[in-house]
Symmetry: C2
Amino acid sequence: MNTQPSLSATESLGVMLSLVRAELVRSMEEELAASGLDLSYTQFLILKKLARLGPMSASNLARTVELDGGAMTRQLDQLERKDYLRRCPHEQDRRTLRIELTEAGAAKSQQLTDCSARVLEAAQRSLSETERNQLHDYLTRVLHALRDKN
Amino acid sequence: MNTQPSLSATESLGVMLSLVRAELVRSMEEELAASGLDLSYTQFLILKKLARLGPMSASNLARTVELDGGAMTRQLDQLERKDYLRRCPHEQDRRTLRIELTEAGAAKSQQLTDCSARVLEAAQRSLSETERNQLHDYLTRVLHALRDKN
DNA sequence: GACATATATTTGCCTTGACAAATAAACTTA
DNA sequence: TAAGTTTATTTGTCAAGGCAAATATATGTC
């Protein structure tokens, strides 16, 4: 049995955030699957970051996508097995990995960008440009307020 | 090793939602712990709903807090063990439970409300009343857009 | 250089939540 | 009423992520 909610009058901010995030993730995974990409939302984020920012270390990647280091190791295992990326040795620092997209991975990255763009556009379709910026701004301010709670 | 992010220029909506939600949950659990309440965010939501809406069935509760039915069973186990709530038989429907707060649970509920109010106030302290309403409105519209994607 | 400290990656352990199957009990309909 | 369908709860299984420990390597200090 799962939940088919009926967003009541005034849900609190926490509940709203959970709902919207969950629905966005679901939409994103659906869109990925529809494009023939077999990727979880987390894996999508990892590949997108690599495509946008280029090769980087695993810990850097973990920080960038807000994922625990241990969890990152396991996601990299999966993505390497699927031949989306490669672990290369770092030239100067032998502790560090250089994670880079394979040719296959790079070839898919455009599809990722397209999927992402479609879902985000669908999600925000009822918001004007101004409202989208405001939403982002408000979320940023809430995040800051929570982080430096003085 | 965990993540101490540096929210870059323009994070996408999905990332922002995850960040804000995670931080809010963290804050909430911290505040609960500081008030001597040993409760996860999920457990907090369950008790708060019960306090606000009164006794209800487990499946109703699950729908209300957006939790899977199986997960709800296990949360109820824990909360019952801690003596915050009770499973009572439903008078008309023998399939159904009537979940109600114990005296101890009811006694704590005011603290929950206070914790919640403090954290939400802190989170939104840099937003005006108007902006808070807009944020809620935008999130609601995004949610609807994602649900009925036509 | 030796030693203490910090960082990167991996692994083990644990909790959570989703999903599906199993029961039990209503409800619907012929 | 009997059969089929829906709903409520519980349980098993699984994947994901957080945390801590282990290991390897780098960096800073004396």
